[in-house]
């Protein structure tokens, strides 16, 4: 045993799942302790204020080993820190961060997440940037107080940064992004959702300076214009892009002409709420990004059946498609879409109220792998649609049928009995269950914020409730 290298011990311990086993190993002998505790302290997790206070005491006591009080320098074993648990984040203060980092946790720290720690200020960010030399991930989203000046000052000390999350830091502007672009060439993920001051200039600078950029979250940037799209869509490594609710992106991408040297490898694209997005823009997008797997077009209400024909060009790449509130969509477009995209696993058609049984009949025939289907508020569909869906008996896992007012209980029974893999079924506002309080009793409890009227309508079966209602009806 004495000849096992420490690295191998660490390997062995990394397979253990429960902390209890790790603690058991830690008590075997001194070498075991070192390897096991390195793993225990690598990613400490805190659910409460007390847990964090206890951790702070331990690491502070271990600052200068071997003190009489502790055997190892626990602080230096920390690699990831997340102070984001719901009640805890409101207690996190600048003084606490100072205490944490001065207890040696800065030495090997790779990722720190302070999302939503509202009472932190520029001071903490400055401290982190100056003390943590090995940081590759920094999440300071929703710390509203952070200023542009502080961030631009500290970014030059963070060149190895790969992930930067600034979602909801409303005071930051292009100058921070320009500094990031100049100083952090290894950047892979940047999130600046809801940072209303960020414009085309900052976004373009990041794309041009960081060749490995793979994920960009640009949700809710009101002054982002179509001009920013040409550089963004030309970013070669980009895999995920979120442009939801960018109010000024009226036409996307810029047309005409839009040319890029290579087809994009984009896999995930979110265009939620671009109400003015028109069919020709979809054609340009599809031609340029043929590998899209997940596409969110919720509330792109200007799209018509023509757009569905264009989306058909994505063919087998497309696996997940959200078309909620695309109110102009009809049976013709939907049929064309599902015929071309046979590998769809998730299809959301909420509030596409022109959809009828005719096209729903086509879905299981063309997309045999469908796992989730959303038909909320598709009021025209009848039991006939449900009987068509029975063909998906081995794959269907989630069905959202709320406010489909024409459905009957016998069709729902057939669905439950044939599709045995269903784990989630929503029937909120369906008269067939509203008339049966005994059936509704199997529903999950309604969310706390619902009004009395909404509670009466609420009916969602999940987990054990699905089996429960199935057995009860039989």
């Amino acid at each position: 045993l004495d000849t096992i290298p420490n690295e191998l011990l660490a390997h062995i311990f990394s397979h253990l799942r429960s902390p209890a086993d790790l603690y058991a190993c830690a008590h075997v002998c001194r070498r075991f302790t070192l390897s096991a505790l390195t793993l225990v302290y690598a990613r400490p997790s805190f659910a409460s204020r007390d847990a964090l206070a206890g951790f702070l005491d331990t690491v502070t006591a271990a600052v200068n080993p071997p003190t009489p009080r502790s055997t190892f320098a626990y602080g230096t074993m920390v690699r990831r820190l997340a102070l984001t648990a719901e009640p805890l984040r409101l207690y996190v203060s600048d003084a606490m961060i100072l205490r944490l980092l001065s207890a040696g946790t800065n030495v090997r720290l790779e990722k720190i997440s302070l999302a939503g720690c509202r009472f932190l200020t520029d001071e903490s960010v400055t401290l982190i940037a100056t003390l943590c030399r090995t940081l590759i991930g920094l999440d300071i989203s929703d710390i509203i107080e952070l200023t542009d000046a502080a961030l631009t000052a500290v970014i030059p000390t963070l060149p190895p940064l790969q992930t930067l999350n600034l979602n909801g830091c409303v005071h930051i502007s292009d100058s921070t992004l320009l500094r990031v672009a100049a100083q952090c060439p290894a950047l892979r993920r940047i999130r600046v959702a809801r940072c209303a001051l960020v414009s085309d200039v900052g976004v373009a600078a990041i794309v041009n300076a960081c060749p490995r950029i793979a994920e960009m979250d640009l949700e809710g940037l009101p002054i982002l214009t179509p001009a920013a799209m040409a550089p963004v869509l030309s970013a070669l490594a980009l895999r995920e892009l979120n442009l939801a609710s960018c109010a000024a992106l009226l036409t996307l991408p810029p047309r005409p002409p839009f040319t890029a040297p290579d087809p994009s490898l984009l896999r995930t694209l979110n265009l939620t709420g671009l109400v003015a997005l028109e069919d020709p823009a979809v054609l340009v997008l599809v031609n340029h990004c043929p590998r899209i797997r997940t596409l969110v077009l919720t509330r792109c209400a200007a799209l018509s059946d023509m757009a569905m024909t264009h989306l058909g060009r994505l063919g087998k790449s497309l696996q997940s498609l959200h078309l909620g509130h695309c109110v102009r969509l009809t049976d013709v477009g939907l049929k064309k879409l599902v015929k071309s995209c046979g590998r769809l696993r998730y299809l959301d058609l909420s509030s596409c109220y022109l959809i009828t049984d005719k096209s729903v009949h086509e879905i299981p025939l063309s997309c045999p792998k469908l796992r989730r289907l959303g038909l909320v508020k598709c009021r025209a569909i009848t039991d006939q649609s449900i009987y068509s869906l029975l063909r998906l008996h081995s794959t269907l896992e989630r069905a959202h049928l709320s406010y489909c007012t024409l459905l009957s209980l016998s069709a729902i029974m057939a669905l439950l009995n044939v599709c045995r893999n269903i784990t989630h079924l929503t029937l909120t506002g369906c008269p067939c269950v509203l008339a049966r309080p005994d059936v509704q009793a199997f529903s999950k409890p309604a969310p706390a914020e619902f009004s009395e009227g909404q509670r009466g309508m609420f009916c969602v079966f999940g987990g054990g409730g699905v089996g429960g209602v199935r057995d009860y009806l039989n």
Binding site: L1, L8, H15, R17, D21, H27, V28, F32, T71
Partner: protein, 187 residues
């Protein structure tokens, strides 16, 4: 299994057969002769040997097949098992590797063949089980075979998984620490 690679154990005569193989086949398969520290000799395909980063780097550095190569720090029994593992897995594409995340390494399941492979190590007559596992793990670590390191460390972890401290000490043959030492460990 159709992708089982060619494996020959010529430990009986202890001689290299590299030249012979080259001449007898139309399309020569690059082979490598390995001699362990307790003087057993094995002939393996290049492809099989390259499962080990140690051999892979060596073959790249020497640009060609060296003369019979003496493998330090590895016993004949261990090398036999290693070659068995590598021959089976040399064409696999999704072996565990060093780039896997901590979670995917932990959650990966041991395959059927691998399970039998490990059980046969355990069943080796008479010897204490954990010593064989640890010995093979060290050999795999020395030769740098990520897949085998994963399998062995996982198997060792499984043997200590739900056990109390005293039993873990027994398995690894760790002496019960003195009270003073115990106190240090408590901190």
């Amino acid at each position: 299994m159709f992708h089982r690679a060619n494996l020959r154990n010529n430990s009986k005569n202890g001689r290299s057969q590299v030249g012979q193989n080259r001449n007898s086949k139309k399309k020569p398969v690059a082979k490598l002769t390995l001699i362990t520290e307790d003087n057993e000799s094995f002939t393996v395909c290049k492809k099989v040997a390259e499962m080990s980063m140690f051999f892979k780097n060596m073959l790249q550095d020497t640009e060609g097949i060296p003369a019979p190569f003496i493998v330090p720090n590895v016993s004949g029994y261990d090398l036999k098992k290693i070659i068995e593992y590598c021959s089976y897995h040399c064409l696999d594409t999704d072996c565990p590797n060093d780039n896997d995340s901590l979670r995917s390494r932990r959650d990966r399941k041991i395959g059927h063949w691998d399970e039998t492979f490990v059980r046969n190590i355990i069943n080796k007559d008479g010897d204490p089980v954990i010593d064989n596992l640890v010995g093979l793990t060290k050999a795999a670590y020395f030769l740098d075979i990520p897949g085998l390191i994963w399998l062995m460390t996982k198997s060792i972890a499984n043997t200590i998984d739900p056990k109390p401290i005293a039993e873990i000490r027994e398995i690894f043959n760790v002496p019960v620490p003195s009270e003073r030492e115990e106190e240090i460990l408590q901190r």
